[in-house]
């Protein structure tokens, strides 16, 4: 993560100063979220409607980017088929850290109405990429997606950037896990 890797070392074990820096960095990441302009299926139409004047996604500071390199999060808006799954994984890998995923709609949450007989449908996008926020609905209303966005911003605001590994290790120790 570019700058962060360099910051990691000298700030080891920092106190209040570190907290503030972390706050500012998190604030920037939460408030300026660029999403990948990418639609899959029915939900993509609602996703476009969210951008439209009535709902105005840009209020949250989101800007569409067409290149995955410049995007901060991707909205999986619709059914993920097996043919498409590998491409989505590739897109996710192409995005630059820190990156987030919103799974929009039942189809990408769990397969939706295609869960039983869909021989060509991936039952949940979380089988190939990690998901941060799940938005239920088929398709979710624009308000639901906006709530998903707010939740994602909350999540980003409370992220631990520095000493991430250390904290995770401490948590693991508490839980009695021994993961290297």
């Amino acid at each position: 993560m570019g700058l962060l890797n360099r910051l990691n070392e000298p700030f080891e074990g920092g106190g209040i100063v570190l907290g503030t820096v972390e706050d500012i960095l998190n604030w920037g990441r939460a408030k300026s979220d660029w999403y990948l302009q990418f639609g899959l299926a029915c939900c993509a139409i609602e996703f476009m409607a969210v951008n439209a004047p009535h709902f105005d996604f840009m209020r949250f500071g989101t800007i569409p980017r067409t290149s995955p390199r410049q995007a901060d999060f991707i909205i999986i808006s619709g059914t993920v088929t097996l043919k498409m799954a590998e491409r989505i994984k590739r897109l996710y890998e192409q995005m630059s850290e820190p990156k987030y995923v919103i799974s929009m709609g039942s189809c990408s949450n769990c397969g939706g109405p295609y869960w039983e007989h869909g021989y060509h449908v991936l039952k949940g996008v979380d089988r190939i990429i990690p998901v941060d926020v799940y938005v239920p609905g088929c398709p979710p209303r624009p308000e639901a997606l906006e709530e998903g966005m707010i939740l994602l911003q909350k999540k980003i605001r409370h992220e631990a950037i520095f000493n991430k590994r250390k904290r995770i290790a401490e948590e693991d120790k508490k839980l009695g896990l021994n993961i290297k």
Binding site: L82, K83, A85, E86, C110, G111, W115, E116, Y119, H120, L122, K123, R127, I128
Partner: protein
């Protein structure tokens, strides 16, 4: 032109290859034909002045148990009449002549029928899968199709 008249016209020309006309309402009138002669019949239907079927509406593939079926729906923009042809082929050797040289729309429709039902169209220039991935196995719309467990390491069933 009514279905009966079209049937008579075809019967006149192709005699034994035109099997029967099914026209019991509410079903649509369907002419059963011999699959091997499909190309000639279709060409006649397209080029004959009184028939002039210039628009291939759809190609429907069916799984009839031991056999596979293909239904072609034709429409004439000029005479505004519609008719369906049905050809039946055995499941172990499902071969029909291609119509892509008569109606270009048959290109994709036949690829779809091959992909989903496994009917081979002889003479098609590029008979590859269209909806499923190119390395997919089996023809999903057949009644005896079994969904695979894994595809490229991804679990398929829920």
């Amino acid at each position: 032109m009514q279905a009966q008249e079209i049937f008579d016209k075809l019967k006149e020309k192709f005699n034994d290859d035109i099997l029967e006309l099914k026209a019991d309402a509410p079903s649509d009138p369907i002419i059963l034909i011999n699959g091997a002669e499909l190309f000639n019949i279709a060409q006649f239907m397209r080029d004959k002045e009184e028939l002039d079927f210039d628009y291939l509406v759809d190609l429907i593939s069916l799984d009839l148990g031991d056999n596979l079926g293909a239904i072609y729906i034709f429409y004439s923009m000029k005479h505004k009449h519609r008719i369906a042809l049905k050809a039946i082929v055995p499941k172990d050797n499902p071969i029909l002549p291609t119509l892509e040289n008569l109606w270009r729309t048959a290109d994709w429709l036949e690829r779809e029928a091959w992909d989903l039902m496994g009917i081979k169209f002889e003479g098609h220039h590029n008979l590859i899968r269209i909806l499923n991935p190119y390395d997919w196995e089996g023809h999903p719309l057949r009644k005896d199709y079994v969904t695979p467990e894994f595809y490229h390491g991804m679990k398929v069933p829920y």
